[in-house]
Symmetry: C2
Subunit: 288 residues, 2 copies
């Protein structure tokens, strides 16, 4: 069965075909420009692929509740031309069922299905890249609530002496504002990958991510946390983050998963393909 | 149908009977002392009530996963004599099906069933009393994850100039440590109800609760937040909290529920009976 997968990001659109087992058979990247132009190219790509359904993981905020009048639309984004654009509607000419998730929701589903979260039912996937976002699964279901998690915007305490300007336009001390790739570049003036030998950079970074993780743990108590995204390619962050999560939890929670931190907080298992693989899963779920 | 309800708290045990519509027909309070003595009185109370099932909402941490070998046990508590006490096992002589939740989980269920959360599917119930705790419902289901939420221990930023010692033995700046009833009493040397005319007390209190709420909103995106517990009897807190949540969200999230803050953040609808009513619901779910 041929399925379509669309990872709709703010800078690029990854379009792929694959099967119901998560095998990717073809993949192209289209730069995200204006919505009409971009969607035309996407529809053209999928037009002759004979897909049975399309899974979409979209940048947001995006309305994922089917019962909402805004279903399938991008909401209040800073990308002006995409504000209230009807993403799902613009794909209707493909004439296939569409299953929509948030971008991190798609990655979460991929990791839960075939990646580092295969063996648990309650899971948090955090991406630390240009921005920070989380997808959360509880008892096998991705949670949405009123909108969907915006966990990159949890408020955390700054470390003493860190007076860098937050890169979040809304919050002076959310984790995205202080610890995203954009925040690292803004704080030091050079991108993260040119700072690899600067220990203090990663101490601070790990501290902020750990504080956010502790808050996620206290609120949703996930059985596992998977960390992905560009910044997490810096493998040295993992032991630092684990150690700081332990420090901040401070033995308050005694659970089996927390006893084995190397398993509890771990890298993504699908390289950078969890999003597309998650979209294949989403597509498979709505095949008529 | 006669159902049993047990709200097992750290200071008192509320035992009640009622029906499958949430009507309470009888209710007694038993002080929580040592586990054997306390449970004997509870078993005696329910022994002649002809209940068909028992719903239990227990202080914790408590193991609520049926598949766990520790199911029904109190876990690592500071109440030494209750540590690893088999709460559900100690009720087995009643010979009725038992349905166990956390204390706040029980209150959440009560409010979701017949209280201030009747009309939503995704809900957070926060109790601000001696301690602080939250129960979280997503799509009609109470979430547990690895253990269960311990949302009173989210880490928040202290307000400038607040150097009071946290009353949480584990965290220097969790919301329970800084804003529980115990924290108020510790900070000012007198209990909350003698501080009603001290504006700065409630400004600070509202600030800390608001910071915690913003974090819950960013993580689970509840459709409504219900605030209960002794401290929330101070009604003046509600407008302050709403205003500060608005300030800290800072227009980042644009959703219909957030536009109507008086409905979004509201007092409990069942007085102080949500726990017992939640237990009746729990009992009704397991009648054979």
């Amino acid at each position: 069965m041929i399925l379509g997968a669309l990872e709709a990001g703010g800078t690029k659109m990854v379009c792929a075909t694959g099967d119901e087992f998560g095998n990717i058979t073809d993949c192209v990247k289209i730069p995200t420009t204006g919505p009409e132009e971009t969607m035309e190219k996407i529809v053209e790509y999928f037009g002759d692929k004979h897909i049975k359904a399309l899974g979409v993981a979209a940048f947001g905020p995006v309305e994922v509740h089917r019962e909402s009048p805004n279903y399938g639309k991008i909401l209040e984004t800073t990308k002006e031309s995409w504000k209230y654009f009807d993403l799902v509607g613009s794909l209707s000419s493909l004439n296939v069922p569409i299953n929509l998730e948030t971008d991190v929701g798609g990655s979460l589903i991929g990791e839960a299905w075939l990646g580092a979260g295969r063996d648990v039912k309650s899971l948090l996937y955090l991406t630390v890249g240009t921005g920070i976002g989380a997808g959360i699964m509880v008892d096998g279901h991705v949670i949405h609530g009123m909108l969907h998690p915006e966990a990159g915007h949890v408020l955390i305490e700054r470390c003493e002496g860190d007076n860098a300007k937050s890169v979040c336009a809304y919050h002076d001390n959310c984790v995205e504002g202080l610890a995203s790739g954009t925040a690292i570049r803004s704080r030091y003036g050079i991108p993260a990958n040119e700072l690899l030998d600067r220990e203090e950079v990663w101490e601070l970074e790990a501290d902020y991510i750990a504080k956010a993780l502790v808050n996620y743990i206290m609120v949703v108590s996930p059985e596992r946390i998977i960390l992905g995204g560009g910044v997490m390619h810096v493998k040295e962050l993992f032991p630092l983050i684990r150690q700081k999560v332990k420090k901040y939890v401070n033995n308050y929670l005694v659970t089996r998963p927390l006893e084995d931190m190397d398993t509890y907080i771990r890298p993504a298992g699908l390289g950078d393909n969890q999003g597309i693989i998650g979209c294949l899963k989403l597509a498979g779920e709505v095949v008529l």
